[in-house]
Each structure stands twice: as C-alpha cells, then as structure tokens.
Symmetry: C2
C-alpha cells in the first residue's frame, strides 16, 4: 500500500519509532540497567521484535491474551514478564500453557494470588518465577510495606511450583526517589531472610530520561517512549519530532468559520485527557483546540476562522498513544522508503 | 456456554434489552412517530434484527464500515440511514456498492458533500436519498439556518443522481423545542420552494421519554435506550433495572482495606465521564467509587473498609454503554433460560 489510507487512520512513522527504541536502549544501557519494554503502547509483534533486537532482555505484558497473541505471531519471543495478578482456574490454565512456550515470570501482591499460582504450578517441570509487586506511591496494586514484601517473598520461595524472582513496581510519576527507598528497604529485608533478589524492575516513560542507576533498580519497563504523545510532550519528556504516532483525519463538515468537524472521535482518539485541555494536538495548527468528541466526530474550534475546508486532512498527536492503538484493527506504518503498510495490531483488545 | 465468562467481560441481559426495545417502540408508535434505532450502542446484527422485528422502519449507522459489517451478517436488513457526511473516492465507491445491497439514505450539510455524492451516483440506476443535516443546537455538524437548509435541499433535488429525502438533526440534550422550531422553519422554506419533505428525523435517548408528536418530526433515532447506562440513570431517563449491559470484573488486588483493584480499566470501561464523578456504578455497593482507571486496572475506593476480597466478582454499570461495546470483540448475552452465549460484536471498531 503506497497511497494515503482512508480516514480516520493511525499512522506510525517507523523511523521515529526505531530511533526512540535505540535512544532509550542507549540511555538505560549506559546506566547499567536492563530494558524490558511494555508492549501496551504498540501491541505489535514486529515492534516487540525490534525492541528485542535493539537489546531488550524481554518484554512486558499486562494480560495473558496479549502474550498469547504476540507469541502466535512471533513464537521466538524469548522472555515475558506479565505484570498483572493472575487469578482463577481459567487464567491459571492459560498461564501454565504459556509457561511452556516462553520464559515467563509474573507478579503477586497477595497471598491469594501466590497460593493460586503455587497450586497451578506445583506439578510443572519448571517453577514459575514470581516477583512481588510493591506500591511505592502509585496507589494501585502492590504490597504496602517492605515487611509485607519480605513476607510474600518467603511465601513464594517456599511454594514448590514457584521461584522468587525479585521486586516490581510502577512508581507514581516523579516518584522514583520514593520508589528507590521502598525497594531498597524491601530488598534488604528479603536478603536478611536469606533470599536473593535477582531483579528489581521499575517503569514509566515520563521519568525515563531522569533515570539513573540507584543501585537498587536493575531493570526498567518503559512503554510509551516508542511512540510518545501529547502528554509526554507537555511534560517535557519528548519533542513533537519524537512522536511516531499520528491520527490522520478528514474535515467532514465546516458548519461555521470557527468550527470544523473531523471524522475521528472518541472511537479513535479516546476520551483520555491525562490532565490536558482538549483531546489532542492538531499538527501545524497550534491555535486550534479539539474541544469536544463524540464517538465518530471530533470538533475543532479556533480563536478565529479556521484555515480548513471540507475534505482537508489533518494530523493529530493524541493525548495518549497507548489507548489509541487499542482502538484500531490495524495501524498504517510508514516505512523508511515512504510507503505505508497496514500492520494488524497484534494484541489489540486482549483484555483477559 | 453456560458458565461465567472470564473477566473482564461485558454481559448483556437479553430480556432487559428486548423489553427496552418494546417499550421505546410502543412509546413512539403511540405518538405516530417512526423509530429508526441507532446501532452504535449494541453494534450487533442480531439486536438490529430484534429492533426491526419490533417495528423499526430501518436502522441508523454512522460509518460505512458499520453498514458493511451488519449486512454481511444479516443481508436481509432492509433500510439504513447513514447519518454521516461521506467524502472522497474510496468511501464514495463503498457507498455506491452499499446502495446496491440495501435501501440506503445519507445526509449532507455542505455543497462539497452534496456534489461528491451527486458525481458518485450520477450514473446509478436508483438515485441516492440525501437528507440535509441541521445544527439545531448540538454544535456539531449541520447547516446553521433554515434558509441554508432550503438552499442545500434545492441542490440535492437538482442533482441527477440524488433525491431529496428530508431533514435530519441530532439535538442538544433538552433541545427539542429549539430543534422543532428550526426544523419547522426549514420545512416551510423547502416546501415554499416546491419540494416535499418526506422525513424529518431527530434522535437521542436522554429525551426519548419526553418526545411528543410536534407535527414536524416524523422519525426518531434513539441508540442507548437498548442497554441504558449510568449516565441515563443519573438523568432520570432509565432505572438501574433497565440497564441491560454490565461489566463483570474481578478484584485482583486489595492493597489496603479501603482500596480494591479490579481487572477492568479504560480498555473496557473507557474514560468517558459524561459529566459524572467516577467511571461507573458498582452494583450493590453505592458507597464505592471507581475513582481511577489505567488501561487494565480500575481502582475502587470506599469511605471505609470495602467488603471485597481478592477473587470477588463485581458488576458495573458503565457511564456510557455505547463506547464499552466498542472495546470488546464479543459480549456475553444472557439468554432467557439463564445461559450465557458469546456474541461477536458485529460492527465493533468500524471507524471508516
């Protein structure tokens, strides 16, 4: 495919994505940190492969279905960390099947999850590696204290089907110092109990370029850095030129001089605001706001008359790249020779 | 399938959906109004069929891809109104192909769209029926004045491949009086020019139960009424017992007594707030807020300790039903005998 895609479309500039991958790899490698990219941003087996080829130690997924889809497309993916508590017989069966296909580790923050994993893997040839998830300020999942982390590490280490793999956190933005303090204390407590802590893994693109080797964290799991987005530009974590993903839309109506309607609504851009005003940045039109979305309509309003006519195309850098790729069955990848190629979004919609 | 689905899952109570369909049909028929349901809420060929069987004159879609998908599953769908401006050669080719498969009408609010449609249908055996979209207060697409509507109606009527079909609006919530005034004036102006106005079509579930026959509107296009949602309950347009769609999620973490994390995040519930606080209503737990979503995590917080444990299932009525069905490859339909059956979401993700 070489022509322009029908709109709305999500277009990925492969050169920019590969440059983003290389830069993050170099940044973390220079600090002695492993990189394990989170695939939630691109959901593409081919970009996971590019991240591995650049030097990633493995990839990060959140849902079992994402791992299944990626391995179906690229069975050679060597190593996956599933940063999600797995519960219930159906999911444990699927997890067990996955562990036979790939070097797999996962996380737990409760005895219920550890005990479920232990029962499911008790008779497997290889133990499942389980890390303890720590809430270091993000206020989502995770044990609340280093002592709790140490107790859970012991429970994992003592379960026949499991092996203790270390500590995992997703810090609050700007919360890396707090995360380091928590993780250092947890690591010390676990080591005092006689266990090794092979991996301490943290993540998040907003703080990626501030990451230094703190002597505790061994591995970093950035996701959005591969594409970047308006949120990261607004935080100073990326430039517009680093944004590999753009939504291409067509002006379908110009009811008044200062209002244009585009064919991308919340079913493409999503309602994610991430603290910003409006639903995306219209490239080249800094005074234009995307001030309202319905499912199939996006409303552009300007301070005065808009220099847009029915039929014009616009490019938008969305607030949040990760959620946009989940809306599309395929993205259009701009190859280095300038042609566009549709790539099915391998792991789109895999929520279980 | 008779057991409980893996979570997160979207479960549809078919009895409630069919009752909602019957009630809206009766309400509008009693007022002499045709009903043309908008399929954006369910995106299912089988529920479109149920709406037609109940007496709908046809269905409403927004994107060509939705019509294609529905007709592929149910070629007997007789009549579709596409309430979206169609532009560009690729989409016009697809529209022409569709018009050979189904009785099709569409809308326009600009000369550019009318002229494109006219050129595409100039040599077709049957003219394409085109309605003029009017902005009666919704501030999205639509001509701005009755005089503009009359001019565009003349342009449609004068185009060889087109036939003027009437007027279409999507009013602002609570804006039906304003819509009636605009539409009556537009109709009078068009009739004064010697044209008939066969159809005047309006829509929106929030005002559905207040709709009366105003002597102007002939047809109504509600969408969300089939499932209802938290937004409609909050507006008084539905009761909880009328909500046919629920998101079923599992508590995967309980880091503190007053915080539980569920496995439904923005990839299921979406970030749509519709003016509400929080991302959905947890059925049976009125004091619990879903106060934060990330892509795969939903955070429940309570005023005190939550009566929830890791592994518990919760049911959620989402803020906005229509966007939730777009996130799922399949919904689980609870049949009248109580069993659950997965139905692929026919028109999910059809944004072009």
């Amino acid at each position: 495919m070489t022509g322009e895609p029908e709109t709305p479309a999500v277009v990925i500039d492969l050169d920019i994505a590969l440059r983003n991958i290389a830069r993050a790899q170099a940044h973390l490698a220079a600090r002695g940190l492993a990189i394990r990219p989170h695939i939630k941003t691109h959901k593409l087996a081919r970009l996971a492969r590019a991240q591995l080829d650049a030097g990633a130690v493995g990839i990060t997924c959140q849902k079992i279905g994402e791992v299944e889809a990626l391995l179906d497309e690229d069975p050679a993916i060597p190593d996956v960390l599933l940063t999600y508590p797995v519960l219930g017989p159906a999911k444990l069966d699927r997890l067990r099947a996955l562990a036979r296909r790939v070097r797999l580790s996962t996380v737990a923050d409760s005895e219920a999850v550890v005990d479920g994993l232990a029962a499911a893997f008790a008779h497997e040839p290889q133990p499942l590696v389980v890390l303890v998830e720590c809430d270091t300020g993000g206020r989502r999942c995770g044990v609340q204290t280093p002592a709790e982390a140490a107790r859970l590490a012991q429970r994992i280490a003592g379960a026949p089907g499991l092996a203790f793999g270390g500590l995992m956190t997703y810090p609050a933005a700007g919360g890396h110092a707090a995360a380091t303090a928590f993780l250092a204390a947890a690591k010390a407590a676990i080591e005092a109990d006689g266990l090794r802590v092979p991996v301490v893994t943290s993540g998040g693109t907003p703080d990626l370029w501030q990451v230094e080797n703190d002597g505790v964290v061994t591995e970093y799991r950035p996701g959005t850095y591969v594409y970047n987005d308006r949120s990261l530009v607004s935080r100073g974590a990326a430039e517009l030129a680093d944004c590999a993903l753009r939504v291409v839309a067509t002006v379908v109506s110009k009811p008044t001089p200062d209002r244009a309607i585009i064919d991308a609504g919340s079913k493409v851009l999503t309602s994610d605001l991430l603290g910003l005003d409006g639903y995306g940045m219209v490239v080249g039109l800094p005074d234009v706001a995307i001030d309202q979305l319905s499912e199939e309509h996006g409303r552009l309003t300007g301070k005065g008359a808009l220099a847009l006519a029915v039929g014009d195309r616009v490019e938008i850098v969305p607030n949040h790249a990760c959620v946009v790729t989940n809306m599309m069955d395929a993205v259009h990848v701009r190859l280095p020779d300038g042609t566009l190629e549709p790539w099915p979004v391998t792991a789109r919609g895999r929520v279980t």
